[in-house]
């Protein structure tokens, strides 16, 4: 996968896919800004600017804080993994190629595979594994939806271009004069500033507590089934507000409920996802309505998918006994470290500088961005490049259908995580 030649002068790239959030927008223009750093020239957002425009650092691998050669670091990492009772392959801020390499190494090394954002991924997975859902994708929502309900999630922060590209877009495939869209923010403290422009009609905020969204959706399920609700308040909202929300849903031809599972960070947060999904499923008995889960940062859609197609399970898989074993509680990396069931953490963070390992005194090997904001000195640190910046790769988008090619945008001496992982595996 050679990166395409630049078309607009030296090192100016068009149609670049951005790996820094789950939406993987692929319409960016990127150019150089001196000293190996990059500049987002078109279609940037807070996340892509922060990612692409990081200072370019090329660091040497380290063992106990001392510079070593890459070969020495790889050999030392292989020794630690070989001697480990139960290595954890965590963090996993990586793409498809990186995950393939992690899976091969975890199989060989008898370890556990878990992503840093698994807790929020699992709020969705548990629902899929217990009752399922009916969902849509970005292009479909962009062209078809006439109602967006943003459920408890600050999408503008997790996926900054969602509103621009999917909600506020002027063109719609199905009408030269598309109807205005209603956007409802369900939950308090959500940034609604991005819901603006010609396409946007009513914008409402329904300021309920995030952990009471489930109650509101449950009430809507009951109304849908013909039950009479007599309580004055539902989930802390006046009943009339919920009835109005229901009426707006009824008036839509293709509504979409959007959530980011990371927002439901409270006990039983998966049950909120489930209630949303059950409401959507039931709505489709007579009309069309769909869900759209967002977030998906730090490569989590890629990692979850590759892990599922290779091991059969969506993360939290152990190869300690050779066979893939799946247990969403038992193989939670955080728990395994806290209980010291694991004696080695192999942490991979190749996108952002903030995906730092948990604070643990378990020996740690870090494959990370050179600027990774480590709180503790790891036993071994191997700086690696970022897929889509320093080397090619592929990323699966948050709607779990589309994947994008990631390009190499500059010359870098940083090795790629897949190459480092493959070398470690070979050295076992």
């Amino acid at each position: 996968m050679e990166s395409e030649k630049s078309t607009n002068g030296a090192n100016h790239y068009e149609n670049v896919a951005c790996p820094f959030c789950g939406m993987a927008c692929d319409d960016l223009d990127i150019g150089p800004s001196g000293n190996g750093s990059l500049k987002v020239l078109k279609n940037g957002c807070a996340r892509s600017v922060a990612g692409f425009e990081r200072p370019f650092i090329e660091k040497s691998p380290e063992i106990d804080g001392k510079n070593v050669s890459l070969d020495e670091a790889i050999a030392a990492a292989a020794r630690l993994i070989r001697d480990s009772r139960l290595p954890i392959f965590g963090g996993l801020g990586t793409d498809v190629e990186g995950t393939r390499a992690v899976m091969a190494l975890a199989e060989r090394g008898g370890g556990v595979v878990d992503h840093a954002l698994s807790a929020s991924v699992y709020r969705n997975v548990r629902v899929m594994q217990s009752s399922g859902w009916l969902t849509t994708t970005l292009t479909e929502a962009r062209n078809r939806a006439d109602l967006f309900i943003i459920a408890g999630s600050d999408i503008n922060k997790s996926n900054p271009r969602f509103f621009e590209r999917i909600v506020c877009n002027e063109a719609s495939m199905f009408s030269d004069n598309p109807p205005k869209r209603t956007v409802i923010f369900l939950g308090e403290g959500l940034d609604q500033s991005a819901a603006k422009g010609e396409r946007i009609g009513d914008v409402l905020t329904i300021p309920c507590k995030i952990d009471r969204i489930g109650e509101i959706l449950d009430a809507m399920r009951a109304i849908q089934k013909g039950a009479a609700i007599t309580a004055d308040t539902i989930g802390g909202l006046p009943r009339a507000t919920v009835e109005d929300l229901f009426a707006r849903y009824k008036a839509s031809t293709y509504g979409v409920i959007v959530w980011n599972p990371a927002s439901f960070d409270f006990p039983g947060g998966d049950l909120t996802v489930q209630t949303i999904c059950e409401f959507i499923k039931e709505s489709n008995a007579t009309s069309r309505f769909a869900g759209l889960s967002l977030g998906g940062n730090e490569g989590s859609p890629s990692v979850t998918a590759v892990c599922a197609w290779q091991s059969g399970y969506p993360l939290r898989v152990s190869y300690a006994n050779g066979k893939p074993e799946y247990d969403a509680e038992r193989y939670d990396a955080t728990r395994l470290l806290a209980s010291r069931e694991s004696d080695l953490l192999v942490w991979l963070a190749s996108f952002g500088d903030d995906l730092v390992p948990p604070d643990t005194d378990v020996p740690t090997i870090v494959l990370g961005t050179p600027g990774l904001k480590l709180k503790r000195q790891p036993k071994i640190f191997i700086p690696v490049g970022t897929p889509g910046v320093d080397h090619v790769g592929r990323a699966i988008r948050v709607d779990n259908v589309v994947s994008l090619p990631l390009r190499k945008l500059r010359q870098s001496k940083l090795p790629s995580a897949p190459d480092v992982l493959a070398s470690i595996e070979a050295a076992l």
Partner: protein, 554 residues
């Protein structure tokens, strides 16, 4: 290196060889003429063994987003079916929806060397190929799904120039690295997004005003004129609907002699007779197939047990969610391109409906005369996992066994089927047609599916066991490109298979229409939508085989 297989009985229908004893010579991965003074490096004495080309499954859902949804959704499928890593093979899991590497191993262990993913959504093509790349050993290929995608429907509704429609079909095949094109519930997946709940053959799509018949005929004619060898692969309207036979017969008639492939026709051969308003119409469908030489089909046989249905047909799958077992399901509207529905299902031998489905599939096998136009499939995993093929082959080859099995199922179902009156037993020659030679010819795989000189040395050696299930479950030897891969049903070497594609010619100026379409409506740029060859070859993980197409007409 010269390899010799000595003394086997050869079943090679493409070369009209029916059980003759012959030696086979292999050099550089190919079958070669017997050299005048052979210096054989490795000889395999296979006297009395049955030799066929490697099996080819023309319709098996093994790669792509809906399969990974199914894998994630159903840990139940995998538990107790876990496989540890060995020095040769990777770890994996699964029965009905195996993990990717495991699927490849299971195919190879069963004597198969190729399988084709029949429902690759263009928007999901990259992922489908990544999963296929992780499917060990076997060669693969994929059929691009068209017919509910908005670009095509807009072309049809606008009555676009036919050559532009053909350019788009061909462009899609190139962009998605496909070997064929499939249509699923023509127009129906899109219609479901507009809240239509069914779309009969002559019913109009509420927004585009086109009918499934228009879509099928356009794609059938388009592919024929593009010179694509495999005809339009049709998953028709009204899948699984009692009375769906009428649609199937009308689809055959409506093709007006154009080549068509009707996939999993078992699900499209249901009548409405009897107290349950559900009966077999296999005889009518078989007669229509027998009398229309432009039609080929695969069966989509139902096998009893737990499986998971996975289809692009979101419209019909949404209806099927009522029967989900266990009770969970995923349905998706996808990218102004397609849809999907993943619904777990258990076929029960004591259920009237399931038993009749089983009988209908077998009736179709036994009533359709020409095995060159009939392929052995379970529509994996929709009718059952592909690992059931040996059992299915025994049902077809062994009438006594078939009758024993019939005793164990719902007896009322047999009253609405002609199965108990059918005496036919398939021969090894016919099995070789249905599982190798026929699919290879239909898909246009020039050097596969046969054992003639120049063929790729994908070769399966079976013990001639009268228990045909045991025979086909555990071949003695499997060669892939001349390398020994399986011995006595166990993998001895793992390799990476290739990807078959077809590349009909097209006018690149179609991209002048596609570019603004992608920019205005899609969330992916046209430039990123296309898969490069490098993505398939993927640093040695895969390789490409470009199969020939015929000359394009107009």
């Amino acid at each position: 290196m010269l390899i010799k297989l000595t003394g086997g009985r050869i079943y090679d229908p493409a070369n009209e060889v029916d059980g003759e004893v012959r030696d086979i010579f292999i050099e550089n991965g190919r079958i070669v003429s017997p050299p005048p003074n052979p210096k054989v490096d490795h000889e395999y004495p296979v006297h009395g063994r049955v030799i066929m080309a490697g099996g080819i499954d023309p319709h098996s859902h093994i790669g792509g987003g809906k399969m990974t949804i199914a894998r994630m959704m159903l840990p139940e499928d995998h538990i107790g079916q876990e496989f540890a890593r060995t020095d040769i093979t990777r770890a994996g899991v699964g029965y009905a929806i195996p993990s990717t590497m495991t699927a490849g191993y299971r195919y190879a262990e069963m004597g198969y060397t190729a399988a084709f993913e029949p429902a690759m959504l263009p928007s999901n093509a990259r992922q489908a190929h990544m999963e296929l790349a992780d499917t060990a050993i076997i060669d693969k290929g994929a059929f691009a799904m068209l017919g509910s995608d908005d670009f095509f429907l807009r072309q049809l509704a606008a009555k676009s120039d036919f050559s532009a429609i053909k350019d788009y079909i061909a462009w899609t095949m190139h962009a998605t690295q496909a070997i064929a094109v499939k249509v699923v519930n023509p127009g129906g997946i899109s219609a479901f997004k507009f809240n239509q709940r069914k779309l009969d053959l002559d019913e109009k799509h509420t927004y585009y005003g086109v009918s499934p018949r228009d879509i099928i005929v356009t794609l059938a004619r388009g592919l024929k004129e593009l010179g694509v060898v495999h005809p339009i692969h049709i998953h028709g309207c009204n899948l699984g609907v009692p009375g769906g036979v009428e649609t199937t017969l009308a689809t055959i008639k409506g093709a007006e002699g154009l080549p068509i492939h009707l996939t999993h026709i078992q699900f499209h051969s249901y009548g409405t007779e009897g107290d349950m308003k559900f009966s077999s119409a296999a005889a009518q469908v078989a007669e229509a197939v027998n009398t229309n030489p432009n039609v080929s089909c695969d069966v989509g046989q139902v096998m009893f047990g737990q499986t998971c249905t996975a289809s692009g047909d979101s419209m019909r799958q949404f209806v099927n969610t009522r029967s989900a077992y266990p009770k969970k399901w995923v349905v998706m509207d996808i990218e102004c391109d397609a849809g999907c529905g993943v619904v777990p299902f258990k076929y029960r031998d004591k259920s009237f409906v399931n038993a009749l489905q089983w009988a209908i599939g077998l009736e179709l096998f036994l009533l359709i005369n020409d095995p060159w136009r009939l392929f052995l499939t379970t529509d994996h995993p929709n009718g059952g996992p592909f690992t059931c093929y040996p059992h299915l082959i025994r049902l077809l080859m062994d009438k006594t066994f078939r009758q024993e099995m019939m005793q164990t199922i719902n007896q009322d179902a047999l009253k609405y089927s002609t199965l108990s009156t059918l005496d036919r037993e398939y021969t090894l020659y016919e099995i070789a047609i249905m599982t190798r030679a026929g699919p290879a010819r239909s898909l246009g795989l020039a050097d596969r599916g046969h054992l003639g000189v120049g063929a790729c040395a994908d070769i399966t050696v079976y013990d001639d066991n009268p228990d045909r299930e045991a025979m086909f479950a555990t071949p003695e030897l499997l060669f892939k490109n001349g390398e020994l891969i399986v011995r006595n049903g166990k993998i001895v070497k793992a390799v990476n298979g290739a990807t078959h594609v077809a590349r009909p010619s097209y006018d690149r100026s179609i991209e002048r229409q596609l570019k603004p379409y992608f920019d205005d409506y899609n969330t992916v740029r046209m430039e990123n939508f296309r898969l490069s060859d490098d993505e398939i070859t993927d640093n040695g993980r895969g390789s490409l085989i470009i199969q020939p197409t015929k000359a394009r007409v107009a």
